[in-house]
């Protein structure tokens, strides 16, 4: 039996719930309301929660970025709205077909499926995917459902490795028995279930190379951890998976990124959601996630001065500055969830030293170092950032 760890699985907070009928009934409701308006000679419209910074706020209580209540009204009889009104209806009808037939489509497929020339004109219903993507986003906000629930899949990226059993449709398999490859996370994870979970926590890793290193060093087995490789910024599928593993399965989430503004932003997105997708925060974000590294303190503590890299851009005290990494750090210092002593300290140190430190820089000590010393030490002593 493994020794008692500081980090261990907790009590679940949410239940698995996914109901396609909810989406269908909402769509039909909107259709009927348009029809009624036009019948009675009124200009039909949709009310769409506004996107953008103006309609976003940080909810201190839930500690999530949330969408405000500003609406924009999209009329049929308005030269500036008419085309979008038509497009909204087209996508709504398409989603209805997808969901009722149990099919999934990518954003690109949804675009192509709905693109055609409007009879008697040289105009297409959609000229460009840049027209259909925002309509789908609008629908997410209007209906309050994830695009995945509308059966429109996100780009997939990321894989997992560790001793958990996954049920995907008829298949059931253990994600630690798939060789070194791990299991590729699909675009949609709504339908996936976890019949068996034998790990204490999930370690979210920014780079594939680092995840592979940990797999090669047998870290998941030794430390009873699930590795989730995001391969850069976490895809929606991975973020939803993290959310579900935490809330439905009670897995503590620990994030391991490069020690640079981009890495910290990845952490921030997993933890709080992003401004673009604020309306989905309560389905995609995991505010309880914690951060193991890399931190600025690691540089001194593990003697990594030699393998830091310079921050890109112009520092704030130089002419033309701040730009690049410096600008990003200054922005991150303003994030509400970084308003604590520990994070402010890290960010200030980065500014002061003008350096960044990568996960893989730990290889400078030895290949095993990260798996045998760095991570176990920090995680088991609870040396984590909020």
């Amino acid at each position: 039996m493994p020794k008692r760890k500081v980090i261990h699985r907790e009590k679940p907070k949410e239940k698995f719930s996914y109901d396609p009928k909810k989406v269908l009934s909402k769509l039909e409701e909107y259709g009927r309301s348009v029809l009624e308006a036009i019948k009675s000679g009124k200009n039909p419209y949709f009310d769409i929660p506004m996107r953008g910074l103006n309609n976003v706020y940080f909810d201190e209580k839930s500690r999530l970025i949330k969408m405000g209540d500003k609406l924009s009204r999209r009329y049929f009889l308005n030269v500036a709205h008419a085309r979008k009104f038509m497009q909204t209806l087209l996508i709504m009808a398409y989603v209805k077909r997808l969901v009722s037939e149990g099919k999934h489509a990518s954003l690109r497929e949804a675009y192509y499926a709905n693109k055609h020339t409007i009879p008697g004109t040289r105009e297409n219903t959609f000229e460009d995917q840049r027209e259909s993507d925002p309509i789908i986003e609008d629908l997410e906000r209007m209906l309050g459902v994830l695009r995945e629930e509308m059966h429109i899949t996100a780009d997939r990226r990321g894989y997992i490795y560790g001793d958990i059993v996954i049920r995907d449709g008829e298949d059931e398999f253990n994600a630690s028995k798939l060789g070194s490859g791990g299991w590729a996370v699909p675009g949609t994870v709504e339908h996936i279930q976890f019949p068996e979970i034998n790990v204490d926590y999930a370690l979210v890793v920014e780079t594939a190379a680092m995840a592979d290193r940990l797999i090669e060093e047998k870290f998941p087995k030794k430390e009873n951890a699930l590795i989730i490789a995001t391969q850069g910024q976490a895809s929606r599928g991975v973020r939803r998976l993290i959310h579900r593993l935490h809330y439905e399965e009670g897995l503590p989430i620990i994030v391991f990124t490069d020690g640079d503004p981009y890495g910290w932003y990845i952490y921030s997105t997993i933890k709080q959601g992003s401004i673009n997708l604020a309306y989905l925060s309560d389905k995609l974000a995991t505010p309880e996630a914690r951060f193991v590294g890399m931190t600025m303190d690691d540089i001194k503590r593990y003697g990594l001065e030699n393998v830091t890299e310079k921050l890109k851009g112009i520092p704030p005290n130089k002419k033309g500055g701040p730009t690049g990494d410096y600008k990003r750090i200054l922005e991150e210092m303003e994030y509400p969830w970084f308003q604590n002593r520990e994070w402010q300290r890290q960010l200030k140190l980065a500014l002061k030293w003008g350096v960044r430190i990568e996960q893989q820089a730990l290889a400078n000590k030895s290949l095993e170092f990260v798996a045998k010393e760095y991570l176990p030490e920090k995680i088991n002593s609870g040396d984590l950032l909020p």
Partner: protein
């Protein structure tokens, strides 16, 4: 060491003509094409000026005949008042001679070296005399004129007189030149005359090109502009030397009369004021304490002349001395006194200089000129009120804008100073800078380089501030720059209105169509969502659109009623 007297043995005196012979480029005789244009310019300018002064609608014919390689005969004939016999040598043979150079007057040329320069250029390239045929209505005089370069004198090599039964008046000159070239480029004669015709719609101008082709720029206005009048200098614009030298020459009886009579904006009362200022300045000059002195100058600048005077003991004595000076004969005015007067002018306030001497083309005539020559779809013109630059020099800006019609795509700027086309050095010209500074997109001209648009700018002034002696580019004086911009913006706004109106009518039809075309799409989608038939949904939507536009038209009609 050489003896000084030996060194000076070679000392000789150069004549003006000799000087200019060595510096023909100063007069615009540089480059084969440009030289020919300059030559034609000098002759045509003379003709236009002569006709205007005499109130005759000009009829000018230019003929370029090719005699050999880079060898041409240039004929310019007008229906002007003609030249009296005794002035022929002066007009054509002597540099720096003319009717305007010494007067404060707006004119096309400015230095009185123009036509004699042309005669000299012809002479030094071809060796030939210039043939002049002229009549003031009496007998016709035919004269061959040459310039004695050493003496700066014209001389008539040969002269004949002919009877003039029909009372013809006018002047025809024939110049034979070498080292020039006729080309239909934007710096050539054709382009120059076209631009001249635009700015002078009251003139009929014809050109016969070397290949025999006749080009006519017909008259589009019957109104001959008033000749410009001489303007008296404004006190703010004169130097000590001007006052001193004018005083020496005047026929007035006293300094006071002289000031009132020969300057603008000086009245009897102003002279009384002047006396106080001169007296005050004399007194201030004697103050030892520099700080006190500075303060007094400042107060004077604020107009507190009486208070300043009163701060000196016995100031009335000084005032009386100055008043006495005003009554003495002007030729006795000393340099120092002239200096005192000019200094006092700087502290005094005067009305802006008179502008009645300025002769803009006028909005109507600009429009006629542009229409007649360019045949555009739309034309407008703006003549701004006169303004002053450099404290005392009046000027006026006008702008014409022609769009579409026979104008080819692309933006074209036609520059003029006192109606004379400027063909060279466009880059450094204030007109170019001002035209470029305009944000044309704001006026519905989205792509300037593909819009059929011609902009003409005419800067009118007694003294146009050219950037160089070539007189082909106007210096960037802030006041002028701003006036040009205002004029262009005004004209551009009118163009914008025109362009908008053109588009508006098409717009309502288009708008209804915008909604209708989406109806089938919407109906199909809504049918999927609700189960209602496509056919019916289409009907609902089309009815809704129809009723909306019907009510909308009603509203617009009643608004226009």
């Amino acid at each position: 060491m050489a003896e000084a007297s030996q060194l000076f043995k070679e000392f000789k005196i150069q004549s003006v003509s000799e000087f200019f012979r060595r510096n023909a480029a100063m007069l615009g005789y540089t480059g084969k094409v440009r030289s020919l244009t300059t030559l034609v310019h000098e002759a045509v300018t003379n003709s236009l000026d002569a006709c205007e002064e005499a109130g005759i609608p000009p009829y000018i014919r230019v003929e370029i005949e090719e005699l050999g390689r880079e060898h041409y005969k240039v004929v310019v004939e007008d229906n002007g008042p003609g030249i009296p016999e005794k002035y022929i040598t002066h007009v054509f043979g002597k540099m720096l001679a003319g009717t305007k150079a010494h007067r404060n007057i707006q004119s096309r040329g400015q230095q009185g070296i123009g036509i004699s320069g042309a005669v000299m250029f012809a002479q030094i390239t071809s060796g030939k005399a210039t043939r002049v045929i002229t009549s003031t209505g009496d007998e016709i005089i035919e004269a061959w004129v040459k310039i004695d370069v050493d003496k700066n004198e014209g001389k008539i090599v040969k002269k004949e007189k002919h009877p003039n039964p029909d009372g013809w008046h006018g002047t025809r000159i024939e110049l034979e030149v070498k080292n020039v070239k006729y080309m239909r480029s934007k710096q050539g004669v054709y382009w120059y005359l076209k631009l001249t015709a635009i700015a002078n719609p009251h003139a009929h101008i014809e050109l016969i090109e070397p290949d025999g082709k006749l080009i006519v720029f017909p008259r589009s206005s019957e109104e001959v502009p008033e000749p410009p009048v001489e303007m008296k200098p404004h006190p703010k614009g004169v130097l000590t030397d001007d006052v001193y030298r004018m005083a020496k020459k005047t026929k007035r009886q006293s300094v006071r009369r002289f000031l009132i009579g020969e300057f603008s904006r000086i009245s009897d009362k102003k002279v009384d004021e002047l006396i106080e200022y001169v007296a005050a300045l004399r007194l201030i000059k004697k103050v030892g304490d520099k700080k006190v002195q500075e303060q007094l100058y400042e107060r004077l600048m604020k107009g507190e002349v009486k208070a300043v005077l009163r701060s000196f003991r016995g100031y009335t004595k000084v005032v009386k001395q100055v008043a006495k000076m005003m009554e003495k004969p002007p030729e006795k005015l000393t340099w120092h006194e002239a200096e005192e007067i000019v200094e006092a002018f700087k502290y005094m306030k005067f009305l802006a200089p008179p502008t009645h001497g300025l002769r803009p083309i006028g909005e109507e005539n600009i429009e006629k000129g542009l229409k007649g020559i360019l045949k555009p779809e739309f034309v407008t013109a703006v003549t701004r009120p006169p303004k002053v630059y450099s404290g005392g020099i009046p000027f006026q800006v006008e702008v014409g804008l022609a769009y579409g019609g026979e104008i080819p795509s692309g933006f074209e700027l036609l520059r003029y100073a006192n109606r004379v086309p400027l063909l060279f050095d466009a880059g450094s010209c204030v007109t170019t800078q001002a035209a470029r500074s305009i944000d044309w997109k704001r006026y519905k001209v989205d792509d300037l380089d593909r819009t059929p648009l011609v902009l003409m700018i005419n800067v009118v002034s007694v003294h146009v501030p050219y950037t160089g002696t070539g007189k082909q580019s106007i210096a960037s004086v802030d006041e002028i720059y701003n006036e040009i911009r205002l004029a262009i913006m005004d004209a551009a706004r009118r163009l914008q209105t025109y362009l908008s109106g053109k588009h508006r009518r098409l717009y309502q039809v288009k708008r209804k169509k915008t909604f209708e075309k989406y109806v089938p799409e919407i109906a199909r989608a809504l049918s999927v969502l609700t189960g209602e038939s496509e056919e019916k949904i289409r009907e609902y939507f089309l009815n809704f659109i129809e009723s909306h536009f019907a009510s909308k038209e009603a509203v617009e009609v009643s608004e226009n009623a």
